[in-house]
Each structure stands twice: as structure tokens, then as C-alpha cells.
């Protein structure tokens, strides 16, 4: 189906089902229960999951396939965000032109940076991209403030000269981003018993774009072009002596992944029309590197998993505080309760970085292929157990 083989179609369908049902899947706990803390099914975080998923998918086209490790990809995300917000300020609150401009501008920016950086390979390439991105960040934060609004981030104001649309709504507010009138922030809420599920227009737009981006990335992975990119990673010497020019291949991959980043940036601005300079900082570039490696570089689904993993910790673990812990463990005797809270305390709230760091190490030590390998091992184990069960039916305990 869709020009994919069975395995890829199945994967695409699984991803489609997961993203479309995310409001259910991410909200497994009743709203009143103590575990509700772990619910991630609210619009902002769901949007972030898919947007960073797109970012990581794009990054993986460059890093996973060609092996070129860019340490400045956040610059393209930032440029995309700025372009989109400017489009909102000047043209219209419709997200489509904003996203298109974000993709185009970041693509051009990537072309420029890629053309220069790809003259070198290995760590020299990484440092060149890092240098360009850090330059962009430092300038955006200070000298370029008229364009970027510096520290605060570029945001909409009540006197934006919007060509199509009004500067301010009738009740004196800033208009909101929309898709032909469908407001990105509008949320449909469904209450089922103690559960509440939120279906957000912006999330679904982003989710459909994620599916398109994911589908495109599968096509690229399975195309002759994708094979050439893997060949670049494997042996550039042989590429050159087989009559293939590696430079346009790597540059094309760089620009494509830059456009993915711009798409993510444009979407981010469409969900929440503000573009902060921190989006371009090296830590943000490092984050997408970590997402990709953590999930499994070079695998299709890995980067999306990695993105979800990191964003989950950032948004959920950072919000757990001592009060919440006391709430959870209040059934224990006071002394024990305090002890348990004391032990967990360093890892939650302001300690979420610590937890993340430990998990990075655990994953890379025990799952060299990233989270995808973890999934494969579980699948294998389940399969193996099933096989064993089939092979030795006599020992099966009927009690189950």
C-alpha cells in the first residue's frame, strides 16, 4: 500500500493509529487518581511530541543515513520559527503560508550552511555546523534583536500590520493562529467516567503533518537516493570511483533534513506564535542528536521514540514535586513516607536532568541500538517465549 512493502505499511499504520489515538493512549490514568501526574495527553505536550518527532525524523535522514553528525540543526528550527512568526505578523494568521515560508527559508539557510560545512567531514563537519548555529544564536539574542526580539523571543503584538486579517480582534486581543478559520488552540474535550481526553485541532494538524513526514522519510529510506546516502556513510572512496558525486548527495540530504527542521519550527510557531532564540542554542542541537541516538540512529521509528522519551521527561518529571510524592506515599507510616520521599526527591522536579542523564547512560550501555533495540529485544523475547511454549505444551501451566 502507498508504494511501500508490507512491513513498512504496517509500521506506517501503527504510527498512524498511535498518533491519531494519542489523546487516549497518553491519558491512561483517571484524572482524579494520583497517577494522573503521568498523563501526557494534553495539547501542548502532544504537539511537542509530534513536532520534535518531525525534527528528529529529518535529522535522522542526514545523520542516520549519511553518518554526517550535524551539531547545529537547531538553527534551522529557529529560522523556521522566526519565518513563521513574521508571516503571522505581516501576512495572515493562517498557518499554511507560515509553514511554507518556514520550510523554504530554512531550506535556503541549510543550503548555504551545508554548502560550506560539507567541504569537510567527520568531526570537522560537526564543528563547522556547530559554529554556524552558535553564531546564529548569539546574534539572534543580541545584535539581531530588531528581527528576532532577542531575549524575549519574537511574538505577536496588538499593532502588527497584518495584510490579510486584523491587527487586533474586536475585543482587543491578538488574533489566534488558524487553518482557514479552524483555530489551532481549539480543543474538543471528551469526558468518559473519570477519564478526560482532549482533542486539539493544532495537535491533529501537526499529527497529520508528522504522518506525511514519516511517510516521506520511509520513501526516502527505501529509494535509490536513500541507498546512495547509506553508501556515502559506508564508503565515500568507492562512491567516487563508481562515478558518483558524493557532494550533491550529502548536500541534498542536509537540505532535506534542514527543511524538516524548518517544518518543525514553523509548526511550533503555528501552535504557539512565539520564537525564542534558545531554540537555536547548541543545547537544542544537542537535544535532537540525543533524541536520534537514544531512539536508534538510522532506524525509521527510533528518532520519534527518542523525541517522545526526552520531551516526556522534560515536561512530566520536572513537574513532580515533594508535595506530589507525599501524596503518593501518604499511605505509609510517617517516618517511612518521609524516607521514601527523601530518597526519590533528588530525581524529580528540579532533579529531572539527573534522571535523564542516568537514563541516557543506561540506554546506551544496555541497548546499543537505542530504544528500537529495546523494542526488538522485547519482541524477540515474547516470540521466543511463545515458541518455547509451543514447543513444550506439556509444561504449560493451565492455571493461566
Amino acid at each position: 500500500m502507498f508504494g511501500l512493502d508490507n512491513k513498512d505499511t504496517r509500521m506506517l499504520l501503527v504510527v498512524a493509529v498511535l498518533t491519531l489515538c494519542a489523546p487516549f493512549i497518553l491519558n491512561p490514568f483517571p484524572t482524579d487518581s494520583a497517577m494522573a501526574q503521568f498523563n501526557a495527553g494534553y495539547p501542548d505536550l502532544m504537539q511537542r511530541f509530534v513536532i520534535f518527532g518531525i525534527f528528529a525524523i529529518g535529522f535522522n535522514i542526514l545523520f542516520g543515513l549519511t553518518g554526517y553528525l550535524s551539531f547545529g540543526h537547531a538553527a534551522f528550527l529557529g529560522v523556521g520559527s522566526y519565518s513563521a512568526v513574521w508571516m503571522f505578523k505581516l501576512l495572515s494568521m493562517n498557518v499554511i503560508p507560515a509553514i511554507l515560508l518556514a520550510v523554504v527559508i530554512s531550506g535556503l539557510f541549510a543550503l548555504l550552511i551545508g554548502f560550506v560545512s560539507l567541504r569537510r567531514s567527520g568531526i570537522y563537519f560537526s564543528i563547522l555546523t556547530l559554529a554556524f548555529a552558535q553564531m546564529s544564536f548569539n546574534l539572534a539574542y543580541s545584535v539581531l534583536t530588531p528581527i528576532t526580539n532577542g531575549e524575549t523571543g519574537l511574538q505577536l503584538t496588538l499593532d502588527d500590520p497584518r495584510i490579510l486579517g486584523v491587527s487586533a480582534t474586536a475585543d482587543g486581543s491578538i488574533p489566534v493562529t488558524s487553518l482557514f478559520g479552524l483555530e489551532m488552540r481549539s480543543t474538543f474535550e471528551m469526558v468518559v467516567g473519570p477519564w478526560a481526553f482532549q482533542f486539539n485541532a493544532g495537535y491533529y494538524l501537526a499529527a497529520f503533518i508528522l504522518l506525511a513526514a514519516f511517510y516521506l522519510s520511509i520513501r526516502i529510506f527505501r529509494s535509490p537516493f536513500g541507498m546512495m546516502l547509506r553508501a556515502v556513510k559506508s564508503n565515500q572512496q568507492r562512491m567516487n570511483y563508481t562515478g558518483l558525486n558524493t557532494k550533491p548527495y550529502t548536500l541534498a540530504a542536509f537540505v532535506i533534513s534542514g527543511m524538516y527542521a524548518g517544518l518543525a519550527g514553523g509548526l511550533m510557531a503555528s501552535m504557539d506564535p512565539l520564537a525564542g532564540a534558545e531554540r537555536m542554542q547548541w543545547t537544542a542541537s544537542g537535544e535532537v542528536v540525543l533524541m536520534t541516538i537514544l531512539g536508534g540512529a538510522g532506524t525509521l521509528i527510533g528518532p520519534v521514540l527518542g523525541a517522545g522519551f526526552i520531551k516526556y521527561f522534560e515536561n512530566i518529571f520536572s513537574k513532580i514535586n515533594d508535595n506530589v510524592l507525599h501524596g503518593w506515599f501518604s499511605f505509609m507510616p510517617d517516618g517511612l513516607e518521609n524516607f521514601v520521599v527523601f530518597v526519590i526527591h533528588p530525581f524529580i522536579g528540579k532533579g529531572w536532568h539527573l534522571t535523564l542523564g542516568i537514563l541516557f547512560m543506561l540506554v546506551v550501555v544496555f541497548l546499543p541500538g537505542g530504544l528500537v533495540e529495546g523494542g526488538q529485544r522485547i519482541a524477540k523475547w515474547v516470540k521466543g517465549r511463545k515458541n518455547k511454549d509451543d514447543a513444550t505444551p506439556a509444561t504449560k501451566t493451565p492455571a493461566e
Binding site: 484524572t31 482524579d32 487518581s33 494520583a34 501526574q37 494534553y42 495539547p43 501542548d44 505536550l45 548569539n138 539574542y141 543580541s142 545584535v143 534583536t145 526580539n149 532577542g150 531575549e151 524575549t152 523571543g153 511574538q155 505577536l156 503584538t157 496588538l158 499593532d159 475585543d171 482587543g172 486581543s173 491578538i174 483555530e183 488552540r185 481549539s186 480543543t187 474538543f188 474535550e189 471528551m190 469526558v191 468518559v192 467516567g193 473519570p194 478526560a196 482532549q198 504557539d272 512565539l274 525564542g276 534558545e278 522534560e314 515536561n315 520536572s318 513537574k319 514535586n321 508535595n323 506530589v324 507525599h326 501524596g327 501518604s330 513516607e337 522536579g349 528540579k350 529531572w352 536532568h353
Partner: protein, 448 residues
Amino acid sequence: MSKSAFSRRGVLKSGALAGTGLALPTIFTASSAAAFTNDPTGSSVTLGFNVPQTGPYADEGADELRAYQLAVEHLNGGGDGGMMNTFSSKELQGNGILGKKVEFVTGDTQTKSDAARASAKSMIEKDGAVMITGGSSSGVAIAVQGLCQEAGVIFMAGLTHSNDTTGKDKKANGFRHFFNGYMSGAALAPVLKNLYGTDRNAYHLTADYTWGWTQEESIAAATEALGWNTVNKVRTPLAATDFSSYIAPVLNSGADVLVLNHYGGNMVNSLTNAVQFGLREKVVNGKNFEIVVPLYSRLMAKGAGANVKGIHGSTNWHWSLQDEGSQAFVRSFGTKYGFPPSQAAHTVYCQTLLYADAVQRAGSFNPCAVVEALEDYEFDGLGNGKTLYRGEDHQCFKDVLVVRGKENPTSEFDLLEVVEVTPAAQVTYPADHPMFAGGALGSCNSGA
């Protein structure tokens, strides 16, 4: 400890009761029939405390969180009541807000606009917070203020000193209790005149981002009005850790005052470097060389250690103030945590009480009602004397402290001494002052 502080929305509880397991679709959009965003219909109300928990301002954030917890305790009738007893308004009864128990959620701003907005959004969307407060930098405050305006909740800005917060980026749903760059200049100028005279040459080192610029502008304007000459204004990169190459040119510039428009780690390092280069022992034009740090924070002053001794600056509040309100706050905070509160803690504590009081007076959590109750509201007893929340720009006007690094501290907290309490009238400016020009307050948004 209470069982689960996390009831998402009161509406869900009732929804759950009425629910028969079937879907009850309700549409939450800007145009829906709901009264206002996150209307607390249950027995409790949730406030969102959004403070830096990671990054360079994490300690300040931690102190803010302590104060918030204290405020919640006092609002719910626990502890000794703190400043609720000294506050001029006596509406708060110690039974929560409008009889609803106060609960709270916390988040990490990371001192980044994006992360701060993400965290605030999750509080609004997931936890049903009706008010967001906190933060330790102007960029974050302005970004979150914009978000709260859009979402239809109240924002009580934490530590933010840039003129823009209540200047070109002011918003109807946001209020600032903290003072600003202009007020620092207005408070410092007379003191500097008395100490150093009117014939001085000032050299500015300024953190190269919007807060730094507004403070530089304010201080330069205030000192130039005294007759001082501004020799140079040099911008330093935010990421700078070593300021030696910016300090060195000061030596032979002919300047006899160095103004450090830095905050946090930048301030600690630039001050340390300035002292290293012997600026304090220097004599220029027959006058002792002086250093001024317009925005002081005790937590940061600690990082600069002995280097702060004798250096003047301004601050929003200090624990050594002897008025009733300050003392009550220091007592309950110090008793609970074992050390005195910082100005950040004081600010956010006051804001929480003020919000609660405004709701109580308005009789509703509706943001527009709260805005109305807070606009042009005058009160006393929260530590800075008579205080006004001005309606035109939502800036708070109160006494500003001029402080000096103490020569002989008696403890690790005793780093600053109050030199002068500049009365509110002296730091008040017209709402249309050019430094605050541009931007519009807009109208309050309740999300309805």
C-alpha cells in the same frame, strides 16, 4: 499531606458524577459557553508556580518555591499566617480562596522562553491552573505573560526587572510586583549624588540583551540628569564567563565609576573581575574609583563574596527591614526553613497573597474580575510601605531600597545593608514615559 493535589478541573469531578460511562463532549474553545478558562468548580483551586529549577537561576527558583509553599500554607490557614496578619486588606480568612482549598502545581522554566511557556501551558491545559506566577528573568516573564493573556489566566510576574515587562510588552492579564530598571535609576541617583558628587565619568558594562539595555538606558539617564558624564557603554555577550577583556579597557578610559548592568552569574563574574583588576583601589581624576551594581540580589551577592563590600545598588526588598510586614514574613519563613528569605521569595509570596486577596474581594476567579480588583489597588503591610498597583500599566509602585555590600557581615546571610529607603513617590513615573512607550495593555482576556 493531602491526598493527591491533582484534581484537574472541578468540572471533571462533576462530569464524572454525572457521567454514565458515555462520552460527554464539551467543546473548549475561545468561543465556548464556559465562564472563563479553568473555572474552579470543585472544592479546590489550583495555582501554577513556574520557576527556574534547572539552569543558572535554580537557587533563586528554589527560594521562590519555598515562599510559594509558605503562602499556600498561610492561605489555607496553616502556620502563623505570616504577612496575612499585617496586610492592610483583611479579606483573607485562612480558609483558602473563596472557601476553596488552595492547591498548586510546579514547573521548570529552565530560564528559557520556550520551556517556560511549555511548562505554563501544561499547568493551564493539564492541571487547570487559574493563575501562573514565578520566574527569574524578564525574557521568560514577558513570554509567559503573553501566553497567559492568550489563554485567559492571570499572570503574576516573578523576578523581572526590565522596563519592557510593564512597558512595551505589558499585558492586561499580567501584573508585576517587582520594581524595574527605571526605578533603580531613580532610587540610586540621589544616593550616588550624595556619595560621589555630580562630577563623575561613568563607564557601563551591559549584558547584551533586552533587560541589560533597558537598565543601561535607565541608569544612564538618571545619572546624566545628575550631571554625570557617560564615557562608554559596552555590551558584553550573555555567554561570557570571563570579563577581563571588558574590564581592562576601563582602566585607562578616564572613567571613575563603573556601572555593571549584569545579573546572576554575569554579575558575580564581572564584579569579581573588576575587583581583581584593582579598580577599587584606583584613583582617577583625584577621586576614588567606584563600582555600582544597579540590581542587587542577596543570593548572587553571596557568589561574589567579599567583593561586594561597600558597593552600592538597589534591591526590591531585604530581610533586615524593620517594618511589621517584613518581620512577620522573615519570622515565618526563617522558622520554617532556617534562613532568611530572598527578595525573590518576598516578591512571589506577596503576589500570591495579593492574587488571593483580589479574588476574594472580587468574589470570583474570573480573570477580568481579578484584573479589575487589582487595578489601582492600594495597600500596605507587605513590606515596602504603601503600595499601588497602577491600572494603566499594571506596574507596582512602592518604596525601593538602596543597599550597600556590608563591610563586616555577622553571618552568611548578612551581606547587604539598607542605605536608604527611597519613597515610592520618588520612583514613580508617568505611564506614558518614553522608556515605557510602545505596546498596549489590551483588554483582559478571561478565555470565555
